[in-house]
Every structure is written in structure tokens, then in C-alpha cells.
């Protein structure tokens, strides 16, 4: 029986129950809550009835349901995130604190990786250019590679590991020790305080870190080129930026913004809805990293494709 969770809603047996579930919730909670709860309940009831009817469901069907349910949760989370982000009061103080946590505390790691990436990439590219006698192309090659692709991606992957797991673990442990519930019952709007601020901060900080990473990478590359080809700094910079256009920088920033949002939102989503005690905290941190890295690669692919159409 291969059914998706939405397909089974349309089968005769379940649609009645679906509408019953829809009506069972008070309209004061808003339409989306009614719909959401109804879908959840239908899936739940279906699971029970399937468990009673001896398992006919193939693993694939169950996975489809999990996936649709997960997507539904995620879309609701994003909706809430955008709604709360534009609604005052704004927690500027906490946003600045989070920018510091996310941005400043990642600087050493980004400095190191950016620098090493620049040097290594220069060293690795040189032999193939030497064979054409085209080592003067090195600066622009490195600049294109760093600014278009490497800086945003390296920064995002490092931050997915550092910032994403940190957010997932922090919010996850607050969730399982009921600190988030405690904020909720004291009217402290934990979603605004914990989630919105972190997502805003990481959306702002990852682009800054990515630009910084590109800069440090180019510096690393310059040192290596200076050592080997004795190119002056001025020549290096003018060569490097010869091939870089507005579109390159724009695309790169767009990518970094998307990556920053992804890292913040995925970390918060996994942490804020963690469950199952300390085990859940570890899982939240872990899945935050895995999922945001996965999404980062997909976004990279999509944005590069779109920018190539624009070019």
C-alpha cells in the first residue's frame, strides 16, 4: 500500500475523519492550526489503525508520511519565523549579542581555513598554469575561485559545523530541561528571544564572514604568489579583480545570505523542537549539521544555475 499522507486524505475512508478533525479544533486558534492538527491526527489515527490491521504498509509509504509531515512542520516553522521577525517588539540587544557570538567567535576558525584554502589553491593551480606559461593568470583565477565559489561555501560549511551544532545543542538542551517552557509560561516570548534573534544574526553574519574569508584567502594566495612570482601587491589586486564583476559579488553575497539563513533556521528548528531528553539534544545538534550541510549544497547548485542564466 503505497500512499502518501495527502493521498490517503482523499480516500473515502479518511476524508470524513479529516473533516471531523478539522472541526474538532476551535477556530480561535486560527485556520492553520486547525489544519495542521487535523493532518497530524489523521496520520496518527492512520498509524494506529494500520498497527491494528497487521502491517501492510511498506517501509516506503511510512517514510513518505514522515517526509510530508516533516515538510509540513518545517513550512509552519518558517511561516512563524517570518511572521515573528517582522512583528515588533524587536530584540535588538539580543540580536547584537548573537551577532557577536556567531560572528566574532567564528573569526579564528574562518581566518585559519580561509588562509589555508588560499595558499593551497594557489599551490595546486600553479603547475597546470606553468605548463602554459600563464602564471600571470593566477591572481584572477584565485579571485574567481575564492569569491565565486570557495569563500561562501567554506564559510558556510565551517559555520554549519560550528554555529549550527551550537544552536541546535543550546536550544535543544533548553527545550528538554523545560527552560523554553519556563520562558513560555512567564510570557517571555521564547520564539522571538531565542529563534528569531539567532536566525537574524546568522543571516547577517555569515555573509560578513564569507567576505572576510575571501579577503583572507586572497591574502594567503598573495603571500604564496609573492614568494614565487614576486608580483607586487598592487598588481596582484588589480589582476585579481579584473575578472570579478558585480554579478559575481552579488551572487556570492546572495549565496552567503541563503546559507546563513539556512544554518540559523535549521539549528533553531532542530533545537526548539527537540525531545527525548539528553539523547534528543545530541540528535538535534547532529541533525542540524547534517541537514544544513545538505541544504547548503542544494542551494549552491540552484543559485549557481540561476546566476549562469543571468550571465
Amino acid at each position: 500500500m503505497r500512499t502518501t499522507s495527502l493521498a490517503f486524505l482523499s480516500t473515502k475512508r479518511h476524508s470524513g475523519r479529516f473533516f471531523y478533525n478539522c472541526c474538532a479544533f476551535t477556530p480561535a486558534q486560527g485556520f492553520d492550526v486547525c489544519l495542521y492538527t487535523a493532518v497530524r491526527r489523521c496520520i496518527f489515527q492512520k498509524r494506529i489503525s494500520l498497527a491494528n490491521e497487521t502491517t501492510q504498509q511498506s517501509g516506503l509509504g511510512a517514510q513518505w508520511e514522515e517526509l510530508t509531515l516533516g515538510l509540513y512542520d518545517a513550512v509552519r516553522f518558517l511561516g512563524r519565523l517570518f511572521r515573528q521577525a517582522i512583528r515588533p517588539p524587536f530584540d535588538f540587544h539580543e540580536i547584537i549579542r548573537q551577532c557577536f557570538e556567531i560572528g566574532y567567535r567564528s573569526l579564528p576558525l574562518i581566518t585559519l581555513t580561509g588562509f589555508v584554502t588560499g595558499i593551497v589553491f594557489t599551490k595546486q593551480s600553479r603547475p597546470s598554469l606553468v605548463s602554459f606559461g600563464a602564471t600571470s593568470w593566477l591572481p584572477s583565477l584565485i579571485a574567481i575561485a575564492m569569491i565565486r565559489a570557495l569563500a561562501p561555501l567554506v564559510t558556510a560549511l565551517i559555520c554549519a559545523g560550528k554555529v549550527g551544532s551550537n544552536i541546535g545543542a543550546e536550544l535543544g538542551s533548553m527545550k528538554v530541561t523545560e527552560q523554553i517552557d519556563a520562558m513560555e509560561v512567564s510570557g517571555a516570548r521564547p520564539f522571538d528571544f531565542l529563534v528569531v534573534t539567532r536566525v537574524v544574526a546568522s543571516t547577517l553574519m555569515i555573509p560578513v564572514l564569507a567576505m572576510y574569508c575571501a579577503f583572507v584567502g586572497l591574502m594567503g594566495s598573495f603571500l604564496n604568489i609573492y614568494q614565487n612570482e614576486k608580483t607586487s601587491f598592487i598588481t596582484f589586486i588589480s589582476d585579481a579583480f579584473e575578472q570579478i564583476g558585480f554579478l559575481d559579488i552579488g551572487t556570492s553575497l546572495t549565496k552567503a545570505i541563503a546559507f546563513g539563513f539556512t544554518i540559523g533556521a535549521v539549528g533553531c528548528y532542530k533545537g526548539f523542537y527537540a525531545s527525548n531528553g539528553t539523547q534528543g539534544v545530541g540528535k538535534a545538534a547532529n541533525t542540524a549539521v547534517v541537514l544544513s550541510m545538505f541544504l547548503i549544497f542544494i542551494e549552491e547548485l540552484v543559485i549557481v544555475q540561476v546566476s549562469n542564466w543571468l550571465r
Binding site: A28, Q179, D181, E184, S186
Partner: protein, 256 residues
């Protein structure tokens, strides 16, 4: 009843009718009815896993009920919008089973947090005075600049209670205030609960396994058994019953 206080039997602050809650196949609450009158301390007793914590989480709107009405201070909790629920919660003080202190913040920040989030206009000095006054009320003024991890379990409980008092609640919900504490500290907590009631004129639901706590703080006892209220009345009335479940509970606490 260590303290004499006024109970207004004409005014219900909490009114629960036919409350049901299950988690999947696990039926937890199966038709609970419960009243709390103004100024009254109601103790909810019950074995581990009978849904006592679930009950007060439903009262605070942290969990949705499956069926039944939950009326708190004249408002139906499950029918409120997000903002209305937030306003109602400001009148509830929820002391969590494990204290739930914010462990990235100092004790001072823990106490300041609910106030600065809800009344951003309050002046620094007024807030500071309020923090000190409240910490003094729970007898832990000397811990003001410590971190939660540096406190003992009993101290954490008291800070948790102090944090809820910062917003001057009308109803206190205590989840196992004395669990895991030594008898002397338990007595201190019991006294604190009574003092809070005197000083802030609150009504309260106190969840506990501890009959000494129930006896010291409760005006009325309610015993949950298999998802329903099995017995209700004063301490004497409840434990005069020869219901084996009630007796088991009593013997466990006093004879063991």
C-alpha cells in the same frame, strides 16, 4: 494548615471540567474535574506517571487538552489567542519539577528576565530593588551573582519559585516542590509556600508525593488515580478512607 488565611468560596480561580488527555495510545487524564477557590492551596497527590505534571501544563496552556474545559481566572485557556494566552500566563507562576533555571544566566539575570521581557520600561534601580526583595523573600539574597550550576537542588527550587514571584502572580503552580530534598529543606520549602501565599495572596496548586508537604501546605487534597480524581477533601478526610490505594500512599510516606 500552618497559616490562617482567607479563602473565598464564591470565587473559582481555576475550574476544570471533564479533562481528557492522551499521548497516542497512552491515556493519561480521563475526565478530571477540579476547582481551586481564591486564596486556596490545593494539593494534588498521585503516583508517578498519573499525569499530575500534564495537568498543570494543560492549565498553563503548555499542552492542549483533548477534551474538556479549562477555565483559569474566567478565561477558557484553549480558546485564547497567542497574545491573550501570554497575558493570562503573566498571572500564573509555574514552578517546574526540575526548577528549569536558565543555566546560561546568573541568578540575578534569571530573576530579571521575565520582568525585562514583559515590562521593558521598568527602570534599572526599580528592577534591582525588586530582584533583591524577591531573593530576600526566599532567603537567598547572598546567591545573587552565582550561576544556577553553583546551587544545590533546594536552592534551585527556591530560586525557581522566586523567579515566578517576580511577576506577582495570582495563581502559583508548584510541581513537586519538595521532591528529592532532605526533610529539613522540605520544611523550609513548605514554609516558603505558605509565606508566598500570605505575602502575595495567591491561590495555588501544589503537586507532590510528599504527605508532610501536603499536610503542611494544603487546604484541600485531591488524589488522582488512573486519570481521575479518586478522593478529595481535607487531609484527615482523604486519609480516613480505607481505600487500599489511599492507604498504600499513606503507609509508604509514614511507615516506611
Amino acid at each position: 494548615m500552618a497559616y490562617a488565611h482567607q479563602i473565598d468560596y464564591a470565587q473559582r480561580v481555576i475550574d476544570i471540567r471533564g479533562l481528557y488527555k492522551s499521548f497516542g495510545p497512552l491515556k493519561v487524564l480521563q475526565g478530571v474535574d477540579l476547582d481551586v477557590f481564591k486564596g486556596e492551596n490545593v494539593v494534588v497527590l498521585g503516583r508517578s506517571g498519573t499525569g499530575k505534571s500534564v495537568l498543570i501544563k494543560i492549565i498553563a496552556g503548555l499542552l492542549p487538552p483533548d477534551a474538556g474545559t479549562v477555565n483559569v481566572l474566567g478565561r477558557h485557556v484553549s480558546e485564547l489567542s497567542e497574545e491573550e494566552l501570554r497575558m493570562l500566563r503573566l498571572k500564573l507562576g509555574f514552578s517546574f519539577q526540575n526548577s528549569a533555571l536558565y543555566d546560561s544566566m546568573s541568578i540575578r539575570e534569571n530573576l530579571e528576565f521575565p520582568v525585562s521581557r514583559n515590562m521593558p520600561g521598568m527602570s534599572k534601580t526599580a528592577l534591582d530593588d525588586l530582584v533583591k526583595e524577591t531573593l530576600d523573600a526566599v532567603g537567598l539574597l547572598n546567591k545573587i551573582d552565582r550561576m544556577p550550576s553553583e546551587l544545590s537542588g533546594g536552592q534551585r527550587k527556591r530560586i525557581g519559585i522566586a523567579r515566578t514571584l517576580m511577576l506577582k502572580p495570582e495563581i502559583m503552580l508548584y510541581d513537586e516542590p519538595t521532591a528529592g530534598l532532605d526533610p529539613v529543606t522540605s520544611v523550609e520549602i513548605n514554609n516558603l509556600i505558605n509565606e508566598v501565599q500570605e505575602r502575595y495572596n495567591t491561590s495555588a496548586i501544589i503537586i507532590t508525593h510528599d504527605l508532610a508537604c501536603a499536610k503542611a501546605t494544603g487546604d484541600r487534597l485531591v488524589m488522582l488515580f488512573e486519570g481521575k480524581v479518586a478522593k478529595a477533601g481535607s487531609f484527615k478526610e482523604v486519609f480516613a478512607s480505607d481505600d487500599p490505594e489511599v492507604q498504600k500512599f499513606y503507609n509508604y510516606n509514614f511507615i516506611q
